[in-house]
Subunit: 231 residues, 6 copies
């Protein structure tokens, strides 16, 4: 029997690793096909013409580390996603969801980055429990180290995880995948470093009785058969 | 292989049916052992001496309808749970959790009924992800028709479900089990009626692409192996 | 003495029925003039050219069932309201409010549908307690079965009603009006069905001691004279 | 026709004036009977034996200024309400609600003062929409200058009013009633002063297009007949 | 030693006075340089051509009353800020932050006015704790009398202040500065009046043991050396 | 000039280290006197008779590592603080606050541990901005690794820090102090380990541009003179 696929929706290249890298590697280790859908690219005129191609190569290298089955790029303009036609942005995401029929979909938490909120919105619409959407068993939001922690407490939502995946065996793959993003990795102390990623994974795991964990906030879980972990 | 058990913690007899009746019946249909732990009883001097025994019999009859494996009764005094020794109340619940080693635990949403909040607190402590608690795959809160909808919006938390279980095949068992509680069933239009229960199940299901559903708000899901619904 | 009018603002045709159908029918039964303002239409290029006209006719038929006094259509493009000029969208709504001088205004809860949020915003601005707005006794948000229940708990607001109107006598008119929307009514089990609508009405009512109810979350109530229900 | 009564539940003497003084005076001006139920008294051993009697006299004088119809005192021990038997505290409040059959009930916002939270809980139970409770048209929470503003933002609920009553004509009666509480009035700048009370009333009113206002957060409004302000 | 500057970001001219006028005057009294950055102007075609210049003069007069060191005007079109290019709006604010290297930044609470939310977003991005942003000791949100109190409780965030600045000595300068805005000052009872401003200041102060206060909700405080108030 | 003291209120011995260890060490390094007030002890009959004394010695050793000026122990019974007389518990804390006249007070976040909530409540009352309380410049809540992360998202408050203190120079003292608590330190992977503490500090710091940080959620900051970090 073939496992049903999982889908990770990333506003920008590297968000899929920051938020779900360890879980992606676990899934692919176990034969679950994982598609990463990267929504935006750094395009002219806001960015030099060569940036898009360079980051694209980094993404493919990172995905190879994690065993990603399929990497798709919508190439919408980063920073300005919130000003795109709603129909066009959501439509782009919806088509991938409809074609893939995933069992699990990971979307970004709607945090400080306005692009994250636009992709969260598109992902929420594309995974509504209607039509094919009723076959999705889980929609969950991931945290993006840095932007998720730069919100305004009380005026914006706070990431409050209720699901932790044990990534003890794959935390190394997660940081290795992040290291492939030469253009994004920063010097410590900065939010975007392998040290910070590893510390967050250790912290999340330790609060759940695991060595390393990845934490998610669940949007919607639908259980049609028996509770799957009871099997 | 024997399935790991599920545990439903009910402040008062009937809460387990109102909140989880359909899911209990699904689980027992599939061979999952389900323990219902009833925390309180209506005891003198607040209640006449014969109430406890009568409701106890109703509970056993209701549990039989749902196929409940094991019914346990702590017989703490209803209405006054919040004034009990924290150690005694939590200890009573903790001992059951430790002995049972459940994969799933259902606890009440901390709503208008002060006993619900006391049992929520005890259940939260007894399922912390430490020691045996790290083996619990899911802790979830259920809604109790009536009390859950008599809160003060903005001053108290609102039940916001993120998990729906399809109970299309067992909604009849749920309402039949509730009907066994002669002492609790009321006349329509009242919150505690089979009509209201069925309407809520239809409403919850219809928002999730199911005919009838039971909705929960997840406290904590821990995934140690692969995402179970991906298998 | 002529009763002051009520205004229901609907992002799309049918939202006014889903959220307020029973209350509209009560009001018109009692001689209160009710205006329904439909903000958007399904227009080309996103929709075929004939859709707008067909849905328009359905709306008029539904409004006739409810006894709506006046049906107004702004015909802004559905799906893309959030990208319209703020001044144009809000201005369109404001002009109706200013002309009508309503005592009650119903606006959509800002839920999963991005158009609902745009119309919520416009409605909130148009009913501010300044100028003519100080004469509005009540602004309330209604729930839209489906979209209101497809939000992300904890990351988006949850509908938390604090006002229930008894619609026992008009729930039939509500479902009959919805049935006029041939293009919107779906097959059960789906969110947009008369079964789901009726179940929600029974559930809302039963939590408030009524046979059928319609629930609202209050934005602002202004009481200039005595508490009106004390009279 | 006799107007149905209103009930104001005060944890301590003076809370009814701080939170509802202007509204009480409006109601009694218009012939609505208003009962004030004072739940606690400052009793030995925490307080000297003469305090209770002195404050009792102040309360009667304050109530006379506002035209209160009936003043009831439960004389439970202040500061320690949260440790009372739930049945006894709630029962005390419930008996008054059941006897009075009020149309409107005002309860304190559950704020920094632990007694306020205990009385909020008791008031919430006593006004549930069951039995006689289905006849209550409005349950609302009032703010208590000082305690309501000494909470911990983000960790405790924030008072978010959605109802403003115009007290332009009775703000003077409100501050005069407060001035009767010699034992409670403090020196400016302090929270418990007529200056602060008047400033809050002016502020609340000015945000709602009134000269002076009193603000409430609604728990539950039930509308059985037509929307009363539409008449 | 020269004090590091403070920056107040105002969506429209007068917001800086309404939210921070007393604090600005305190800072400038003590020799701290304060820059006010006004983001928008009332421009054609939404406004007559002469409005921008007139309000600009009022702003300069108001700033003179408060001792503002530097007044900057981005002249983006008011009402429509939310539809601007994210890069352009944020870029405009970011350049001022980068050049100024402020120790404190005040931004508007994201309230009912859609422009306030757009400027809040831009201010949040421009003050992220990266690069020069790590030198900002405090980012705080201010309240804007009127818009901040016209939100929808439960569906939108409520201003919940956790910082009060004593403005007893400068509340007169605050209301005098506001009085310079002839085009904005309204008649009482209206939200935008010196009476309402003074009442709010008295209320905020009285809840904090001060004669007059200005209240803020903190986004982020970074303490690199010793706790500064301990010195 | 002598610096005004800081006060750290700990429900149980070790909470002060887990939540504030790095900040305490920074303060004492700079000559600020720091008092730690430990509210409870593990007493018979819930605990063996020798536990209290042993943990007491560990606390003194830990405090020595951090340079704590004064260690006070109220010796109220742990686990059962929530059932104590409100007057007695709050009174015990209030007396220390009144005597010490601190500039800064750290209290626990009201999290999963019911004792933490009781001490939070007592600390909130004891630091109200009345009388001597108006001299307190800062009241802040600290996080307690483990209990703070075992809450029920959506039903209980989530810790949302808005203040980060740089503890790069003292994180070693923090973990060394924790290591003195032989009876509390656990094996990794567990929440109560030096590894988890250090990971959290690195994570908190990295989100704020620091190598290691300690994060707090502010209850109330009062600024009577100039903004202290502007000096």
């Amino acid at each position: 029997m073939t496992a049903r696929p999982a889908l990770v929706i990333a506003p920008h290249p590297d968000d899929e690793v920051l938020g779900c890298g360890g879980t992606i590697a676990r899934l692919t280790d176990q034969g679950v096909p994982v598609t990463v859908l990267v929504v935006s690219a750094d395009l002219p005129p806001l960015y030099p013409a060569d940036v898009r191609g360079r980051v694209h190569q980094e993404a493919l290298a990172a995905h190879a580390v994690l065993g990603v089955t399929d990497s798709e790029f919508l190439d919408f303009p980063s920073v300005e996603l919130s000003r795109m036609s709603v129909a066009e942005l959501t439509g782009g995401v919806q088509r991938v969801v409809d074609r893939l029929e995933p069992a699990t979909v990971f979307i970004p938490f709607p945090d400080r980055h306005v692009d994250h909120r636009a992709v969260f919105d598109a992902g929420m619409v594309a995974t509504r429990p209607v039509g094919a959407g009723t076959g999705i068993a889980m929609v969950a939001m991931y945290e993006t180290i840095s932007e998720t922690y730069w919100n305004a407490p009380g005026a914006e939502p706070t990431f409050s995880p209720n699901w932790v995946v044990d990534i003890t065996e794959t935390v190394g793959a997660k940081t290795a995948a992040f290291a492939e993003y030469d253009s994004q990795v920063q010097e410590y102390p900065s939010a975007r470093t392998t040290q910070a990623l590893e510390a967050l994974a250790l912290f999340r795991g330790s609060q759940a009785g695991m060595e390393y964990g990845e934490a998610f906030q669940i949007v919607r879980m639908l259980t049609g058969e028996q509770l799957p972990w009871q099997a």
